[in-house]
């Protein structure tokens, strides 16, 4: 087995990444902003009348890597890796341009039998003032790497409230969505190349999980934050089914009350065109 379960605790070197206004605009159209062209102009344009450009909070997932420590878990077939979970905590609004320094650490490697789950936490600091900007936790499922008799990891406590959701937002992904989203950094051919996708066992290239995550974040902003990026504090979700580019994504949101530091909380699920849950066990906090 080529991955090493003892790599827990391994840290990456600090890495720096800068981004520009154009990068933020490209990320926004990558996650479908602008499909209602007269909304979200603050995220898709830098020069509209009386509108200052802002950054979608989920752009945190394409900034600063966050999986840098993955290089220390050993070798595996990248076609077998799928994104498992993604959490972001936003300490403040992401500026339109900037530079961050990021350190990531492997915080868990779990044996799921058919595969391994590797968890990585990353913290990113804005270089200009040395203060934290956001932190992220992600887990990846690597098929074929489990079965060494290791710990299967903690269970997540999550409960969906009874009754209909309080808010429902539906967006359409485009057949070409992954070809736009990948220009924000994740060039994994699983999302573009039919031959590569077939090697991973998929009939067609699948959408990036983090693209679904970005669509979902837009839905949460609209449903809970009046579209104001500064109000989303944190967001977690588990990728439960691949999405094909072109599917509709429906974000269902249940408000759950008050959270820490004066924030409110909600849980959510995102469904694909056929109603199956594609991003599950979602939680978020917002002001």
């Amino acid at each position: 087995m080529p991955i090493n379960p003892d790599a827990v605790g391994a840290k990456s070197e600090p890495t720096r990444q800068s981004w520009t206004s154009k990068d933020a605009l490209l990320y926004a159209v990558g996650v479908g902003a602008g499909q209602e062209p007269l909304e979200e102009l603050q995220y898709t344009t830098e020069n509209s009348t009386d509108i200052d450009q802002r950054v979608l909070p989920t752009m945190a997932v394409v900034l600063g890597g966050g999986g840098g420590a993955f290089a220390q878990i050993g070798s595996f077939n990248p076609a077998m890796l799928v994104h498992g979970e993604q959490q972001i905590s936003l300490h403040r609004e992401i500026p339109v341009e900037g530079e961050i320094e990021t350190v990531s650490e492997i915080t868990g490697i779990y044996d799921k039998g058919k595969g391994a789950v590797v968890v990585s936490e990353a913290t990113s600091t804005l270089v200009s003032d040395g203060e934290p900007l956001f932190s992220k936790t992600m887990s990846a499922f690597i098929r074929g790497e489990g079965g060494w008799g290791g710990d299967s990891g903690p269970a997540l406590e999550w409960e969906r409230p009874d009754g209909d959701p309080d808010e429902v937002v539906t967006y359409t992904t485009r057949p070409e969505q992954a070809l736009i989203y990948r220009l924000s950094g994740d060039r994994n051919p699983l999302h573009a190349d039919p031959q590569f996708a077939a090697m991973g066992g998929f009939d067609r290239p699948i959408l990036h999980g983090l693209c679904t995550y970005g669509f979902t974040g837009r839905g949460l902003l609209r449903a809970l934050c009046d579209g104001d990026s500064a109000r989303l504090r944190s967001m977690y979700g588990r990728f439960s089914s691949p999405v094909l580019p072109g599917e509709d994504l429906t974000v269902k949101v249940w408000r759950t009350g008050d959270g820490p530091d004066g924030a409110s909380t909600a849980v959510f699920q995102t469904e694909g065109s056929d109603g199956r849950v594609v991003l599950d066990k979602g939680t978020c906090s917002y002001t």
Copy 2:
């Protein structure tokens, strides 16, 4: 009248522009490549199995400016400028990355009564070998700047063959198309900002004419060149009606015979969703 009809002959300084593989991919998705996700992978990906990345020939219109000499015609309200005509001549295939040096010249300023037409020619040389890569001629219509009693300019000889077109290709533009296309360089808010578009007399932001031109170029490649970018030698069209993002574009092509240097020729028109002609008097040559 703030523009100066005597500016004919004014040249720009040589300007240099470089581009990357990513710029070429972004241009391709900006003009809708990838909407049939399994086609055009050579233009939308750099790492698909057994496919080398290539560049859509119409990317010439976003490289090297070409309107640099416009700075010498005087001042005008940019909301009143619409693209009139665009011609490109490709001396060879555009590389995936490179640097060009471009010189442009004002070659005509014509009085159309309700506005002025300004014609600019640009030639671009690949810096790495000093040889010509492409040349372009564009004209712009500037509403409100005509009426000084000047020459109205030459008439274009163009005839559509009788009968049905030999080839028909239809593509869909997305409501968000202009928000993607503009990231290739033309940030004119006429194409994104409803308030700015209203100042120009439009109910909604309109698609970039050159985005329609890029969709049309894809249609010509498919209809005449088996999708091979190296085979399109030249392309001309006149923008005859604004296109709203979200409209379908139908490219109708009539083969017209042999052209110079062993090339073949065709004429074309591109229609919007309602069948009106949006890119008119089209001609192209190909091998």
